[in-house]
Amino acid sequence: MKILIVEDEIELQQSIVTYLQKDGHICETASNFSEGSYKSDLYAYDIILLDINLLDGSGLDILKTLKEEHKHSGIIIISANSSLEDKLKGLDLGADDYLTKPFHLAELNSRIRAVLRRGHYEGNDIINFNEISINTTSRTVVVNEVDIVLTRKEFDLLLFFITNKNRVLSKEIIAEHLWGDHSDLLDNFDFIYVHINNLRKKLTNKGAKYIQTTYGSGYKFTDT
């Protein structure tokens, strides 16, 4: 996929590029408003990551132009402003998602995948990983052509794992993805452990052994 990252903080921009390139995405960058407008106007991207507060202009204006020109890029706003009004404004203008800084790259990745699935590639609501097949619309999972029943959070967890396959995910990142701001209600991460274990059992029973425990307190979904 071709992704444009409009972000004036170069270090953050480069970290995003590094992370996304591993999945084989083609990443282009724009470090200010004019570069962002120019590139988004001239080329077609599958996804545009848009920082709102650029030194020489607002990312929202780029968004407006894109929508006026009926470009079909998926747009995710990344902003330091967590206020609901800004978020609603961005979404009203036609952004597909809104992420508040600081965010986890794994979270960004999973949002990018979700945006790509939604709308832009019709009929692409089936994700396949070897013998596992996930339908993101009906929220069902089939392993070796046998349905497995997952709870809501287990389904989200599996989806998160597969969109971030071959990457190390810490318990904190997983907890935050699943419960958002409520993740700090968990006194310890035993709870995550129990959750992951349940999912692992359900998958392993059907012959899909992909969830690995890594050093420290991380997990990795991989077939290698």
Binding site: E9, E11, L12, S15, I16, T18, Y19, K22, A80, N81, S82, S83, L84, E85, T100, K101, P102, F103, H104, L105, A106, T151, K153, R167, V168, S170, E172, I173, E176, W179, D181, H182, D184, L185, L186, D187, F191, V194, H195, T214, Y215, G216, S217, G218
Partner: protein
């Protein structure tokens, strides 16, 4: 005591002292003058009688005004007060009496002259009363005049006090004081205007600073977080303890970021930046929250009872409503021991959440303070309840905490 009352009171007391003092002085002065006049008149009469005697004319006595007696021996002259029964008035009267002994034409005479003091006393009294009445009249007129004058002069001052009372530091508008042509008052106005405008500027700068700072902090945090994630992600060569350190850094970066977001929220409520109000169904919010957190409270084996008589709707900002209830319910889930009970009850104008807990909160009076932590080791930020309190204050909800029979209870009266 008000200024004008105080001034009036002092003025009255002072006036009374002046009236009494001046009347006393007047009394003694007038009296001395009258006595001197009486004396002069007695000597004058005596002199006339002596002249008559020298010319060897017959002088008959006229009791009690004067008497002439021939005597053997001479005595020293005296002047004294004496009381004589007046047949005419049928009462005792005070007389001033002059006794002169003198040898005239080889004869020794005792000449007594008297004058009635009563009329002098009447004169004295009349003078005193007249003077007293004049003084009191002048004084009273002055007093009433001053009082009215004070009222006019102080009017801008009192108006300004009311304006100052209504002044709010949050207000964007500069304070507008009533002008006065009295230099002290206009000086005071200038100083107050300067002071309040500085106060407002400082307050708004501080507000701006807090807001900017919090937003600026988010970007470096995002960079740190992204870099660590890339590091962990390419971690094939990392030692186990290095990985552990990276996770710890990640964990604390997240805490810092949460802290920052909470402070931004508190500042935004302080700055009154939540204007969108809608009728929020408390029932729906609670049901959604409980559903969303179900895995967590099921894992702790908590029993949650939620009861409501009817649908309760309150007017507030949606995001604040989410935060309010999620903080209170989250707190209950977090601090109730495993297998414990949580009871949530709502009525048309209140929300109550209680959970069992064996220990009383030590600093229950500081419970709603920022950064208050019951347990210092806890990773909690100590901002959750401060935010709850702030939201309640913002909408004038009454928030109370009680602990009895091993039950912690938070109640909000809408």
């Amino acid at each position: 005591m008000s200024l004008s009352k105080k001034i009036s009171q002092k003025q009255l007391l002072f006036g009374l002292a002046i009236v009494l003092g001046s009347l006393t002085i007047l009394y003694f002065l007038t009296r001395a003058y009258i006595v001197a006049e009486a004396k002069e008149s007695l000597y004058h009469t005596n002199f006339r009688i002596e002249q008559q005697l020298v010319q060897q004319k017959e002088v008959t006595s006229l009791f009690p005004l004067f008497e002439i007696h021939q005597v053997e021996h001479l005595h020293p002259d005296t002047l004294k007060d004496t009381i004589i029964f007046d047949v005419l008035q049928n009462e005792n009267e005070l007389f001033k009496e002059l006794n002169v002994y003198k040898t005239i034409n080889t004869k020794n005479y005792h000449i007594i002259t008297r004058t009635l003091m009563v009329e002098y006393d009447d004169t004295l009294l009349t003078i005193l009363i007249t003077f007293g009445v004049i003084i009191i009249l002048v004084y009273l007129t002055q007093f009433i005049y001053n009082k009215n004058l004070n009222r006019t002069i102080w009017t801008p001052f009192f108006k300004n006090i009311e304006i100052l009372k209504a002044f709010s530091i949050r207000s964007e508008q500069a304070i507008q004081l009533e002008a006065s042509d009295i230099s002290e008052f206009s000086e005071l106005n200038i100083e107050i205007e300067a002071l309040t405008s500085k106060l407002s500027t400082d307050y708004h700068n501080l507000k701006q600073f807090t807001e900017n700072l919090s937003h600026e902090v988010q970007t470096p945090l995002a960079i740190i977080q992204a870099k660590i994630e890339n590091l962990i992600d390419g971690s094939k060569d990392l030692e186990q303890d290095h990985l552990k350190t990276l996770y710890d850094i990640q964990d604390n970066t997240k805490r810092l970021s949460k802290l920052n977001k909470s402070l931004i929220l508190l500042t935004r409520i302080d700055n009154q930046q939540f204007h969108d109000v809608e009728a929020i169904s408390v029932n729906t919010i609670i049901e959604e929250l409980l559903e969303n957190l179900k895995d967590i409270w099921n894992h702790k084996k908590l029993e949650i009872n939620f009861s409501s008589r009817s649908e309760t709707r309150i007017l507030m900002d949606r995001s604040l409503a989410d935060i309010l209830f999620s903080n209170l319910i989250g707190n209950a889930i977090k601090y109730t021991n495993a297998n414990g009970n949580i009871t949530i009850a709502i009525t048309s104008d209140s929300f109550k959440i209680s959970n069992n807990g064996d220990n009383k909160i030590a600093g229950s009076d500081q419970l709603f303070h920022r950064f208050y932590k019951e347990n210092k080791q806890s990773k909690s930020l100590g901002l959750g309840l401060a935010i709850v309190k702030k939201i309640c204050d913002y909408y004038n909800f009454e928030l109370t905490y009680t602990y009895s029979n091993n039950i912690h209870e938070f109640e909000i009266q809408f």
